[in-house]
């Protein structure tokens, strides 16, 4: 049943958006002449462009819909995903890891694994990552279809296929350059389209202070209720937050997920690449002022019998994901509704395009190119790789549509997303951390640690899901939520990978140190660009970012 009625102005705004982003794809095609243009946007972007694209690639469907709904369900604890669950990792990527990624001119994270370890480790990660990206792309597609079907009345298949076709056109035409351009346009549309919801919500309730004062204490704090899981809305302890989310999931995603790292690779020089995630961290910290405030406003309105505001119910079950769309319907008159719907579409399509562009790069460079060389005994030309990248985009989109139909059968997509990250990113983070900082970690240690880590994480997920073991066995708590179980499972997967990698490395052949120069800290001369003023260096911005992070956590303690 549709609860939003679109006027001519709304449809015009939505149409302008689709025409505009496809038009950008055609415009940029003339500047996409080589495989480096297609996969790395020619490596010419400033840190601002790369930084906003870096963040926008992460701002998919779940950031907007799912986090607002989660705030309604769990309260302020959702802010942890934006603060401790993102900022330290983003700063670590910019300060310590980008010099390795950027200077070695590798084109992907699996590419680094090949140089540091061996081919089989690279292929293992490439396959896992490719699998993850099309699944996540499909989830973005499904979430968009859910919103459009529920609130605008569009059919499931129409919503999915229109979005999939649009993304296929502009990514196929111009690759990463087009994806980055549209991600930045989408960044501004999301802010202009959705910040107003929070502004009007604050006006209706009275003030931000009034909102915090009226929500329950378990919803209004970040840390003071984390010693006892029964005292907070997320049923999680500070251990799960710090170890599972703040360390493993956060670092595993922000430092190794090629979807976001690829945007930093598109920067024009090393200093810009290092500044990319640091600049993005400020905007990441500000996002709670959209999704968290909106979620808390929705909570207060839903609990006020005079407001007339209620979340949707699916067969008696509250649909928390309906919070943001219903706030849009509540506050936005015709004209603005079109902007709100466009902002949601922009968020979904940014997430989908980001995953597809990462998928086509990893598949083309890390799987196809290696196989091509092995079979033909020759190097693939730039033109051939460009063609392959375009074909892979189309195939990836088709697979993600299939994944979207599969996601329809899942109960909650947010928990499903974090589960996927715990299978792939958490073990990978352990492998990357050891590889970058410990010289004696061997290729065999890395391969078996990564493989066993991923298998163990998936096994723990299935074991809890089918009740082979109790949830408390991995969370140390009898009242843990599914999200808390995700955090703890990520921690255990990371720990298993870490230990197995070290143990196997102690008994297997090491690579000569001369092969590790430029790949391991301690064996690498710091590639620092000279003549850069201190106030333009990433360290300067990172210090400011950390200070703001600390202030926010103390303010909402």
């Amino acid at each position: 049943m549709s609860t939003i009625v679109l006027s001519f102005a709304d449809w015009l705004i939505i149409a302008i958006y689709f025409v505009f982003i496809i038009g950008i794809g055609f415009y940029l095609r003339r500047f996409t002449r080589s495989d480096e243009d297609f996969f790395l946007a020619g490596r010419r972007n400033s840190s601002w462009v790369a930084g906003l694209a870096f963040l926008s690639a992460n701002m998919g469907a779940l950031e907007l819909i799912g986090m607002t709904g989660n705030t309604f369900k769990y309260g302020m604890y959702v802010a942890h995903f934006y603060w401790i669950g993102a900022i330290p990792a983003m700063l670590f990527l910019g300060i310590y890891m980008m010099p390795f990624y950027y200077s070695s001119k590798i084109k992907s994270v699996p590419g680094y694994l090949k140089l540091r370890f061996d081919e089989k480790t690279r292929v293992l990660n490439a396959i896992a990552f490719a699998f993850m990206t099309v699944l996540v792309s499909g989830i973005n597609l499904y979430a968009m279809a859910l919103v459009l079907h529920t609130f605008v009345g569009w059919g499931w298949s129409v919503s999915m296929w229109i979005s999939a076709a649009t993304v296929a056109v502009y990514v196929t035409l111009s690759g990463l350059m087009s994806a980055i351009f549209t991600e930045i346009v989408q960044f501004f549309l999301i802010w202009f389209g959705l910040l107003l919801v929070s502004v009007l919500g604050i006006v209706e309730i009275g003030s931000l202070h009034e909102i915090i004062a009226r929500i329950p204490e378990s919803f209004s704090t970040l840390w003071s209720t984390s010693a006892d899981p029964t005292q907070n809305g997320m049923l999680v302890t500070w251990g799960g937050i710090v170890l599972g989310l703040g360390f493993v999931l956060s670092f595993g995603y922000w430092t190794t997920d090629f979807l976001v790292v690829q945007r930093a690779f598109s920067a024009k020089d090393l200093n810009s690449a290092r500044n990319t995630p640091v600049i993005a961290s400020f905007f990441k910290m500000a996002l709670p002022f959209i999704v968290i405030v909106a979620g808390l406003v929705a909570y207060l309105l839903a609990n006020d019998p005079n407001s007339g505001f209620h979340l949707l119910r699916d067969g008696g079950q509250v649909n928390y994901d309906s919070a943001l769309p219903l706030l849009i319907a509540r506050y936005y008159p015709n004209g603005l509704i079109g902007l709100g719907v466009t902002a949601l579409l922009a968020g979904f399509m940014a997430g989908q395009a980001g995953n597809i562009s990462a998928f086509n790069t990893v598949f083309t460079y890390d799987l196809y190119q290696a196989a091509y060389q092995r079979v033909t005994k020759t190097e693939a030309t730039s033109e051939h790789l460009l063609w392959m990248g375009r074909m892979t985009t189309i195939v990836g989109i088709l697979i993600s549509v299939a994944a979207a139909y599969w996601a329809m059968s899942m109960p909650t997509i947010m928990d499903w997303m974090q589960a996927i990250f715990s299978w792939v990113n958490a073990p990978l983070f352990a492998t990357m951390l050891l590889g970058m900082f410990v010289t004696w970690i061997t290729p065999s240690g890395a391969f078996w640690g990564l493989l066993i880590g991923m298998v163990s994480s998936f096994t723990l997920f299935m074991a809890v899901r089918f009740e082979w073991i109790a949830k408390s066995a991995i969370t140390f708590s009898n009242v843990a939520s599914d999200m808390a179980a995700n955090f703890w499972r990520a921690w255990w997967a990371w720990l298993i990978t870490f230990v197995i990698t070290i143990v196997v490395s102690l008994f297997t052949k090491k690579k000569p140190k001369e092969d590790l120069v430029g790949l391991v800290k301690g064996l690498t001369k710091e590639a620092v660009e000279q003549g850069i003023p201190f106030y333009k260096k990433p360290e300067f911005f990172a210090i400011i970012s950390v200070v703001v992070l600390i202030i926010l956590n103390i303010w909402f303690w």
Binding site: Y331, G335, L336, G338
Partner: protein, 75 residues
């Protein structure tokens, strides 16, 4: 934010951001003026604040600034 180097003739992304903000801002602003003089039967919460007028106006101003500061810039 404006790119200052001029090399290959590609307009910077900020120029395109300006165009889309300007276009959408104009539509929203005009829509808001229309409903100011022809009130809709369906009233949203806080409709008396006319958010479409001032938010649409804000987008027009922002879009114009992006376009103006990047009108002669290429990257």
């Amino acid at each position: 934010m404006a790119e200052q180097e001029t090399t290959k003739g590609m307009k910077p992304i900020w120029f395109f951001v300006g165009i889309i903000l300007l276009l959408m801002g104009i539509i929203i602003f005009i829509s808001g003026l229309y409903y100011l003089f022809n009130p809709s039967e369906i009233n949203t919460a806080l409709t008396h604040l006319h958010p479409d007028i001032w938010w649409g106006g804000l987008m027009v101003v922002a879009g114009f600034i992006f376009i103006w500061t990047n009108r002669n810039v290429t990257v």
